[in-house]
């Protein structure tokens, strides 16, 4: 993992401050030794994001460990493997976040571990990503860990999937060899239901197609990796009609009700005496003043009379803004409630089917009592049945009665109270949940709803009225 670069020209070529632009989050994944850290190092280096003192520290340590020496070789894994244990063992244990910017946009890079036992940390990196770059060693092709990570990416519906076929230099830039790997990648991604996958031949070591398009791959006509990252859409972007792609949801974090203890000037204090607003981050969609909303639990409806952002009144709020909504009616709304565009909430239920990414060393057995956290609400729940587990070889579901760490499985869950449960494929925010250990509070699993159970009461979208009792 030694990257040969010229260290002399760096300190003088600082990144020019990019104008304030958009933020793009991406994660790297793939099996160990596929060259992730080298790719990250190359990306940061070639986009001038490594500062002189960092490079000096890494160069010093590299030399101490026998990397490069006089040749100027640098072990770029040292840049992101920030923990003592990682540097000692030469592996990545946990996600490292790196920040860099080009004139086009700013990036948050989550460099994820490749080892099977740290898959949970890869899931952490992937849940917030706009894109995942899956590294494959061109000589080895698709490995089990590649399948595992691609399955995670597919189930989590990461918006953009990029497969970087790395070490193409070691195949002498042979097109046929690359096409073979590409074909096997497309076979698996099609099987997993990933509609669009962008495959790029790269050499992280030499730099082919990472920042600049390479002349050594004339048979590849596509963009470089960085060009792609600079142009892909962000999760919360609008669709071609300028509309938010998902319905409005705001999980209520807390009720702002200062009751006189206000920070506004004394002459305005009276105006805010009865101030009451529902604070939260818009999880999806958008809302305007005057729109009608529904609230769960309770099934009440009201009209938005104001949208406040720290003293600024907005006409419209959209994901991922943190705002405070004022409503026309005095509904019983507390933390854990969801405010949604009227007619869009699913009926409440007490059961659901979910895919679980099991992340805890303690296995899951049917009958387990758990807590689940949806948005801002935490409810007690019970795992009534484990119904299957993903077989990474066939990519099909095999029967299972329990789940072990790093398994991706299916389970039926019973909830202790009614929740408006949505499928993850319909809403990436409200269809996602945490599984929490009820005693020690550990995060046991990442869950995504595949099917809500039987409604216990009609939803507001059913037209049957929203205040019917169960």
């Amino acid at each position: 993992m030694t990257l040969i670069i010229d260290t002399q020209d760096l300190a003088t070529e600082a990144a020019v401050a990019a104008p304030e632009g958009t933020l793009f989050r991406f994660a790297t994944a793939g099996s160990v030794d596929d060259g992730k850290s080298t790719l990250v190092g190359r990306l940061l280096h070639d986009s001038k994001a490594i500062l002189a003192d960092q490079l000096e520290a890494v160069t010093r340590t590299s030399t101490e460990r026998g990397f490069g020496g006089e040749s100027g070789g640098i072990d770029f894994a040292l840049l992101t493997d920030g923990l003592r244990a990682e540097r000692e063992q030469g592996i990545t244990i946990d996600v490292a976040y790196r920040y860099f910017a080009t004139p086009a946009r700013s990036f948050i890079l989550a460099d994820c571990p490749g080892h099977v036992q740290y898959t949970r940390n890869m899931v952490t990196g992937a849940t917030t990503a706009d894109a995942v770059i899956m590294l494959i060693d061109a000589r080895k092709g698709v490995l089990e860990q590649t399948r595992r990570h691609l399955s995670v990416v597919a189930l989590l519906r990461v918006p953009h999937v990029i497969v970087a076929v790395n070490k193409i230099d070691l195949l002498d830039y042979n097109e046929a060899a690359y096409r073979e790997v590409e074909a096997s990648v497309r076979l698996i991604t099609a099987e997993l239901g990933i509609a669009e996958v962008l495959v790029i031949p790269v050499s992280a070591l030499v730099g082919d197609n990472v920042v600049d398009r390479s002349e050594r791959t004339p048979w590849y006509a596509g963009p470089s990796l960085l060009e792609l990252l600079e142009t892909l859409t962000v999760i919360d972007d609008l669709d071609e009609r300028g509309q938010a792609t998902e319905a409005f949801r705001l999980p209520v974090q807390l009720v702002l009700r200062p009751q006189g203890a206000v920070v506004v000037t004394p002459d305005l204090a009276e105006t805010f005496r009865d101030y009451r607003a529902y604070a939260g981050q818009v999880a999806s969609g958008s809302i305007k003043v005057g729109d009608t909303v529904s609230v769960e639990p309770g099934g009440g409806t009201s009209t938005v009379t104001g949208i406040d952002f720290a003293g600024v009144a907005l006409d419209e709020a959209f994901a991922p803004q943190s705002v405070a909504l004022r409503l026309a009616d005095d509904l019983d709304i507390a933390r854990g409630a969801v405010i949604a565009a009227r007619g869009t909430l699913p009926p409440v239920t007490r059961t659901l089917q979910a895919d679980l990414f099991w992340l805890d060393p303690r296995p899951l057995a049917p009958g387990a009592r758990i807590l689940v956290k949806f948005g801002t609400t935490v409810v007690q729940a019970l795992v009534s049945e484990v119904t299957g587990r993903l077989d990474l070889t066939t990519l099909g579901v095999e029967p299972a009665t329990s789940l072990a760490v790093n398994d991706i499985g299916q389970a039926s869950i019973r909830l202790s109270r009614d929740l408006p449960v949505e499928r993850y494929v319909e809403n990436r925010r409200s269809g996602a949940f945490l599984v929490i250990h009820p005693q020690d509070g550990a995060t046991l699993a990442a869950g995504i709803v595949t099917a809500p159970g039987e409604p216990t009461r009609a939803g507001d979208g059913s037209g049957a009225g929203s205040d019917v009792s169960p």
């Binding site: 600082a14 020019v16 401050a17 923990l83 597919a154 990933i194 702002l256 003293g311 991922p320």
Partner: protein, 310 residues
């Protein structure tokens, strides 16, 4: 387990800028912690990052007051102008500040002065005592992941045991924006709302929001001498040695901490926009340029964090 096909939509418009997204993310985190914990507290030094977190907290609860108090661990080596700014800012926000003093620990023997004179590592014990005394179950900090390799690995909500220790090999998975603040008795959580901000983001935000900072963040004339390849201020706790030459230079501070281990940089940046320009083209990281204590070893920050430091 086959997922339905995903559809991707072409970019039409980005309605929120980078700063808008980071600001809303931070406000969401601050509100989550206040909602899920009994007694949060904010570490407040008067440094730019903690000033930004305080500003975000004020926005998160507008028009109400900030619903938690502040805590500062004073090493006794702080810059006087920063302490003055700290007290003025605390008064302006109408919040309560508790100050834990390293000097008191040294005076009664609970802590011993280090041979190298730096007091940064000595902050951990008074910090943990203050957290226990205040029965704080959540402690906000202004740490950012771009500051250091160990910080780059830490979660936004970071669980600490009763000794304040961070276990980097066994961190809780942090999924989507669903934060899990559950903890057992004796444990507490460190919460870092501006984890994802860079130094440049912080300065652009200070510019955009017109946030006041201690004067030493801007270029000023100061008596300094060269040590460890950085400019150190001449002061009662940081005198120059006989072989060090004192010069009057125009400098500013990129970070503000202990006078005995924080260095200044040559700078002509007298305004926020000057600083934004300067930071944007800097070739050295902020801690690399200004913190002697992080140069002890490659893992200096990780080692301190494992012991309960921020």
């Amino acid at each position: 387990m086959r997922a339905p096909p995903m559809t991707t939509t072409p970019a039409i418009a980005h309605r929120l800028s980078e700063l808008d997204v980071l600001e809303s993310e931070a406000i969401h985190i601050i509100r989550e912690v206040v909602a899920e914990f009994e007694r949060p507290v904010l570490m407040f030094s008067g440094g730019k990052d903690s000033v930004v977190v305080l500003h975000l907290a004020a926005k998160a609860f507008w028009p109400g007051r900030i619903p938690f108090s502040l805590l500062h661990v004073d090493t006794g080596h702080n810059f006087p102008e920063v302490l003055e700014f700290r007290d003025k800012t605390v008064a302006a926000h109408g919040v309560r500040l508790t100050v834990a003093k390293v000097e008191e620990y040294i005076a009664d023997g609970r802590l011993a002065e280090r041979a190298d004179g730096t007091r940064n590592p000595l902050q951990t014990l008074p910090l943990l005592d203050a957290i226990a005394a205040g029965r704080h179950d959540a402690v906000f900090g202004g740490a950012r992941r771009d500051e250091d390799k160990a910080r780059a690995k830490e979660r936004i909500l970071s669980l600490r045991d009763e000794f304040g220790q961070w276990d980097p090999r066994n961190q809780r998975p942090e999924l989507w924006n669903l934060y899990n603040g559950r903890h057992t008795v004796g444990q507490h959580v460190r919460a870092f709302p501006i984890s994802n901000w860079t130094e440049l983001n912080v300065w652009r935000y200070i510019e955009r929001e017109n946030i006041e900072l201690p004067s030493l963040y801007y270029a000023h004339k100061r008596e300094v001498y060269r040590r460890d390849n950085m400019w150190r201020a001449v002061g009662p706790v940081s005198p120059a040695r006989a072989d060090e030459t004192i010069e009057l230079r125009t400098v500013r501070y990129r970070t503000v901490g202990d006078m005995s281990c924080t260095g200044a940089v040559d700078s002509a940046a007298v305004s926020v926009s000057d600083v934004v320009r300067e930071v944007g083209v800097s070739t050295i990281t902020e801690r690399g340029a200004t913190r002697a204590d992080d140069r002890i070893s490659e893992a200096a920050m990780e080692d301190r964090k494992k012991e309960g430091y921020f």
